[in-house]
């Protein structure tokens, strides 16, 4: 009997892994001055405490998220005696872990239904990449909210591939409200969702006017409106409740941030120089151009109609790689989409290529991290050339991998173009 024969076994194992980590985390927090719980989780729970007393979550410094998150974690603010308080404190982490498992389940369903994967094969990839990935389980049980994005993106893909336009729109609006970056998926989904996806006959007319009118389909309109209404309604509600601090901390902060502490982004050194006002010409002000040209225009246009999931993976990869700030939690953003791409990718077909991609990626990380350690803990001035070259090198590795994904995405049409589910 194979390890991946039974779905329940895979999900039970994934759940047990997270439960063990939750209990272990609780134990380490209670017995060591070095905490298992992520510092961000303290921000969320502090914000939840503010919210529970009727105050603004933005009363907590560095709370840069939607108030929804603080509301969801309200139970963590419940006071109680020792065992009860430990349970309520872990509520948010358990929620994030549950979101992880749910995201994995959605991906397995999609692989089986829309990509015609045998259950065993679907389970194998999702377990390897997501459900049994210790990094994913670790991040959510330490209390990072990135796992919530995973379930939102998986749900968005599921609603799209099963042709639920309004639901997809609502999820998209919610996801963008939560973390801005999923707006890039809106473009590829809209482009992908042409009339044929809804069962129309292939378009034979090719004059400009009919192409334009043909572009506007019921599904596209529904999706766009649902997304816009959800996004606007959520923001309006939050604005009415918490005013400018909400707008500032969830959105404007990302435009005006002045903290350019070292990170994986190739822009990092340049932004230090700019911020300290020693550069002459400000290239970083147009940094959004290459990033958005790829993630919002070129990648969706070329890849979305061939393979939506691969297009979304490439978009996320491009968005993260070309971003002005990049930290390790961003890597989780594209991990959830890997099970759709990997099975048919040249990284698996040609093991030498796949293994070298993995080795170069890890080496790039290791090099950067060693320079970061020299700076952060040994106090050595490793910004230049150490961190600068390491981040440029890591950028190069990522761009090379992105190129592979793009090529694979271009060839993937007849392999995993989703089958429409018949009602």
């Amino acid at each position: 009997m194979g390890l991946f024969d039974s779905a329940s076994r895979v999900f039970v194992a994934a759940t047990v892994l997270r439960l063990v980590l939750l209990v272990y985390g609780g134990w380490q927090d209670a017995n060591s001055a070095v905490k298992y719980t992520d510092i961000d989780y303290m921000v969320f729970t502090d914000a939840a405490r503010y919210v529970s007393t009727g105050e603004s979550p933005y009363a907590r410094d560095t709370y840069r998220y939607t108030p929804l998150l603080a509301w969801m974690l309200l139970p963590t603010a419940w006071e109680g005696s020792a065992p009860w308080a430990t349970l309520t404190f872990a509520f948010g982490k358990a929620l994030f872990a549950l979101a992880d498992v749910l995201a994995g389940w959605l991906v397995v369903q999609l692989l089986r239904q829309c990509y015609s994967f045998p259950t065993e094969r679907a389970l194998r990839y999702v377990a390897a990449v997501w459900l049994w990935n210790p990094m994913v389980a670790n991040i959510s049980t330490r209390g990072s909210s990135e796992g919530l994005l995973g379930v939102l993106v998986a749900a968005l893909l599921w609603a799209t591939l099963t042709r639920k336009a309004v639901l997809a729109g609502v999820i998209l609006g919610l996801a963008v409200h939560f973390k801005i970056y999923p707006f890039i998926y809106g473009v590829s989904i809209l482009w992908w969702w042409d009339a044929q996806r809804d069962g129309a006959a292939p378009d034979t007319k090719s004059d400009l006017l009919s192409r334009i009118t043909g572009f506007v389909t019921a599904s596209r309109v529904k999706l766009t409106l649902a997304a816009l209404v959800t996004f606007v309604a959520l923001n309006l509600a939050m604005y009415l409740q918490y005013g400018m601090p909400f707008v500032h901390h969830t959105f404007f902060h990302h435009l005006t941030r002045i903290d350019h502490r070292h990170n994986f982004s190739p822009y990092s050194t340049l932004l230090y120089l700019t911020s300290a006002d020693v550069v002459t010409f400000h290239f970083e002000t147009v940094a959004f151009l290459p990033q958005l040209l790829l993630a919002v225009i070129a990648l969706p246009l070329v890849l979305a109609k061939k393979s939506l999931a691969t297009a979304m993976l490439a978009q996320t990869f491009a968005f993260v790689t070309f971003n002005k700030v990049c930290t390790s939690q961003y890597f989780l953003w594209y991990l959830i989409l890997l099970p759709f791409y990997l099975p048919s990718s040249s990284l698996i077909r040609k093991p030498a290529l796949g293994i070298s991609a993995a080795i170069f990626w890890v080496l790039g990380q290791a090099l950067w991290l060693s320079q970061g350690y020299n700076l952060e803990f040994l106090g050595l001035s490793s910004f230049v050339p150490g961190l600068f070259l390491a981040s440029v090198l890591f950028f190069g590795v990522n761009v090379w991998i992105l190129g592979i994904i793009v090529s694979d995405g271009g060839e993937s049409e007849d392999v995993n173009n989703p089958v429409r589910i018949k009602p």
Binding site: A30, N31, S32, A33, M42, D46, D61, T62, Q196, R197, G199, P202, R257, I258, D259, H260, R261, P266, T269, L270, L273, S275, A276, V278, T280, F281, F283, L293, L294, A298, V302, T321, F322, L375, E376, F377, L378, G379, L380, S381, S382, F383, V384, P385, F388, V392, F395, G396, V399, L402, G403, V406, S407, G410, E411, E413, D414, N417, V419, R420
Partner: protein, 519 residues
């Protein structure tokens, strides 16, 4: 103008009658081994116009300066502040602060005082205080190793205008260079400016000076030669010695008086040493190592509640995380020998680089734990994890952040009705005393070090004007890398679309289901 000159002698210091001789015109001091405090009180009319303008806009202005050199505590002037210049300021009207104060501070104390406008540079006292707080509305600190600028200011403004006694005035002014502390106080109720200067020890050969009777009848010079001993009550200090008003009294009057005192010194072996464990990295940890006698309960009344505290003055380059340090987690606190963060004020932004921070920095009051055993053999060390801001790039790749040693003291409750204000040597507005109730006694520990400022190396971006990694090349390099990466991905996309359009001609049309029919 009123001058009060007090010499404080230790009990074992020698004294003979001919070392202080009073005549009808003057007082002759010869080779006196004593600490000395000069307190000069000016009326507003005695002061230069630029100073008067600022003072008239102030409700309260209190400056506390302390040297970076180590010095012995003097009873009853045992209180300490961290080395540097501390300014406590309350404007007359709340919204009416101006650039005049800052420009005056720069004129008087030199360009090292990095202050533009009080509302930008000053901090407001405690954001988080679990205690009664009474302090000025605005607070400022500058690392000021030397009073040379103040000496020059006095010499060029006050001394140069004098027709007689210019040389004497210059000498007086330069004596500030050897002072250990200088306090300057003004408040709008008394309309008087008081300058108190402390020399904790005598110059080589002792104090030798002829103190003249004042030229004007309106002025007064008081003289005291005192020794301190413990009072009858634990909160009291008893002082005895000789007093005289120069030019009025025929001979010195013996005196003996006692008063409750806010500040008490601890025995000399109750000391502490401050250091940063290396490598400091971007997250230096401050260690405060206290001698065994320093962590023993002070000789306060047995019913008093006492706790050991430290008060940090952190320039903006160094900061604490108020959420990390303000935790109630016993494991964290115990591992650092901290009891609790009691108060924090000032710049606590967790992310901003130093150049984006306008305020001078922050103040932190911690309560420290003490060992449970009375027979401690080795030092007791409290540690405070701190963080560094990004500083501007430099040619060497490093910058220095100077952190003054914090003060460490025991705070004990005093009996109801204890009136600390009757002490003629009372000292308040130190920054930390206002965080306690008005009837609190402080027992000061002694900093044991030559230089009471720690320098922390801060790694910064190494910026060279020449060579491969000069700023321009980093800019260019980033630009080229991004562009190449962008073009590479674009090229891949072009190849995909090109091969798709080629193969589209030889492929069957897509089915209504949206996937290619596989037969």
């Amino acid at each position: 103008m009123k001058r009060r000159i007090t010499f404080f002698q230790r009990p074992e210091a020698p004294f003979e009658a001919n070392q202080a001789v009073l005549t009808s015109k003057s007082l002759a001091i010869r080779g006196l081994d004593a600490a000395r405090e000069d307190r000069v009180t000016f009326g507003l009319d005695d002061l230069p116009q630029e100073l008067r303008d600022v003072l008239q806009q102030s409700h309260e202005l209190r400056l506390r300066w302390t040297t970076e050199r180590s010095y012995d505590a003097v009873t009853p002037l045992a209180s300490r502040v961290s080395p540097g210049l501390h300014v406590h300021y309350t404007p007359l009207a709340a919204e009416q602060t101006s650039e005049a104060l800052c420009s005056l501070l720069r004129t008087v104390f030199g360009a090292g005082v990095d202050c533009t406008k009080p509302e930008d540079t000053f901090i407001t006292p405690p954001l988080l205080s679990t205690r009664f707080a009474a302090s000025a509305s605005l607070q400022f600190y500058a690392q000021l190793p030397s009073l040379q600028p103040l000496v020059e200011f006095i010499q060029s403004s006050a001394c140069s205008q004098r027709k007689v006694g210019g040389a004497e005035c210059n000498k007086h002014a330069s004596s500030l260079l050897t002072a250990e502390t200088v306090d300057i106080d003004y408040d709008s109720i008394s309309h008087a400016l008081t300058v108190s200067t402390l020399w904790a020890s005598a110059p080589n050969g002792g104090w030798t000076e002829d103190i003249q009777k004042p030229a004007s009848g309106a002025d007064q010079v008081e003289f005291g030669l005192l020794g301190a001993e413990p009072g009858i009550e634990p909160q009291e200090i008893k002082m005895g010695g000789l007093l005289a008003v120069v030019g009025q009294d025929k001979k010195m009057k013996p005196t003996m008086f006692s008063f409750p005192s806010r500040h008490h010194p601890l025995p000399n072996d109750a000391g502490y040493v401050v250091s940063f464990s290396t490598p400091t990295g971007l997250h230096p940890t401050m260690s405060i190592s206290i001698t065994p006698s320093g962590v023993q309960r002070p000789p306060a009344p047995s019913d008093a509640t006492c706790a050991l505290h430290t008060y940090l003055t952190l320039p903006s380059a160094v900061f604490g995380d108020q959420y990390q340090l303000g935790t109630s987690d016993p494991l964290f606190l115990e591992s650092h020998n901290l009891a609790a963060l009691r108060a924090v004020a000032g710049e606590t932004d967790l992310e901003a680089p130093d150049w984006a921070v306008q305020r001078w920095g922050s103040n932190w009051l911690f309560e420290l734990t003490t060992p449970s055993t009375d027979s401690l053999q080795s030092n007791w060390t409290a540690t405070i994890p701190l963080h560094l801001r990004y500083l501007a790039p430099s040619e060497s790749g490093y910058q220095t952040a100077d952190v003054p040693w914090p003060v460490v003291f025991w705070a004990c409750t005093a009996e109801d009705g204890t009136k600390m204000g009757v002490n003629p040597f009372d000292r308040t507005n130190l920054g930390w005393d206002g965080l306690f109730g008005p009837r609190t006694m402080f027992y000061q520990l002694h900093p044991k070090g030559e230089h009471l400022v720690e320098s922390v190396d801060v790694p910064v971006l190494k910026l060279t004007g020449e060579g491969l990694f000069k700023a321009k090349n980093i800019e260019l390099g980033t630009c080229i890398a991004i562009l190449l990466g962008f073009l590479w991905v674009l090229w891949r996309l072009v190849r995909v679309s090109w091969s798709a359009s080629v193969s589209a001609e030889s492929r069957p049309a897509r089915s209504a289901d949206g996937h290619v029919k596989k037969e």
